[in-house]
Amino acid sequence: MDIELIDPIMLAIPVFVVLVIAELIYARATGRAQFEPKDSATSLIMGLGNTVSGVLFGAVTLLWFTYIDQFGVFEIGYTWWAWIICFVADDFFYYWSHRWAHTVRWFWADHVTHHSSQHYNLTTALRQPWFSIFTLKFMWLGSILILIGFPPAMVAFVGGLNLIYQFWIHTEAIQKMPRWFEAVMNTPSHHRVHHATNPRYLDRNYAGVFIIWDKMFGSFQEELDADKCRYGIVKNLGTYNPFIVSIHEWWGIARDVAGAKSAKDALGYWLGPPGWSPDGSRMTSTRIKALWAEQQAELPQDDVKTTAPAE
């Protein structure tokens, strides 16, 4: 059966706009969230650019998915259980894709744009890359579910639902959800940790919808009252220009690879972790965390930040 499904993200856009307005008003009234006009503009323009990029490059992805559909191992139809399995499986693959987006510079070059704001509000959710096509992830990671046998339209639809879920968690307006919800689902608190550059929080909480993946694969970190999130990236950007935000890390890779002294170094600059350099003069997240752990170990016990979770 070949059916055509609507794009859930297009339907969700008006809801996104209403929620951004609501959060803006809430921020002004309570001071519990912050919006900065230039930063908001950059995020929103990048969201629009991402949509345009999706239209321009979407045909390539569509052609690829249509082509590989014939190689599906099983023939899974549009049954109710297939939707559920597809949604959960898509979230599982999202977790790994997202984890690699933080640990492989080639993918980070694309994803860094989403983390480049020093604010954390609903517009940050819309700050999305323009050149995702360069990662070619759709050709392998995005193809797994289709090769298993899920219909491409179903895969695209649940992928859209996953992204819609992730919109509302980009907020400081909600502190904690009920305990059972925090245990299973990705929440604003969990995702604030993900967007924070505090060494303790770096490269944690990669989940899309279900936080259980982080708990299963050792990347979970609770938000702590004593360690208030500082948002952005390790080397924050001094520009609001959406084009520079989009391309700066791609450009950085190109420059580093061009100046590499050997093929091994070039490969490291391209596929190594962000911050990798042959002489170790730059800092990867792993090194930052290790250095921070050393510093914590040397501190008097009273000065060590507590591990009590945020309320």
Binding site: I13, V17, V20, I21, L24, I25, A27, R28, G31, Q34, F35, E36, P37, K38, D39, S40, A41, L44, I45, L48, T51, V52, V55, Q118, H119, T123, T197, P199, R230, G232, V234, K235, N236, L237, G238, T239, Y240, I244, V245, H248, W251, S281, M283, I288, L291, W292, Q295
Partner: protein, 144 residues
Amino acid sequence: MLVTLLILAGSAIAITLLVVLNTKLGGWTPARIESLEMAMATLQDDHLGFVPGDGVLSTDGLAALVMTNTDDAVGLVAARGAGFVTRLIRPSDKFRSLEATDAGTLTLALKDDTMKPVVLTFDTAQEASDWAARVNKRGAEHGY
């Protein structure tokens, strides 16, 4: 095609209105570096292991330079919107320009496409010139 263009136009209008609303509502405070200690703490937060030496705060509170005693780096803090952007300028880093003026300003432009030139203001032209020389010296020793 027409529908796509209409959606794009509608989105552009929505973005404009949201930013106008954001501007009207306010709710954010432009960042200022209140003291040299604050600049040092910001650098220490952003660059683990940074040990501050002496430094200087721009008279407008929008930027600061902090030397480090442990290596050849110079810490730069610049206010940007509601937050701060920091850079550790190492001898291997390049400047586009480093210029002190008679008006007591020091303009520091890094070869960093993600960072606009930073202007520090000083009480005197001599002070601006001295700091330019200090930053210049650290780089010049290493041939930037």
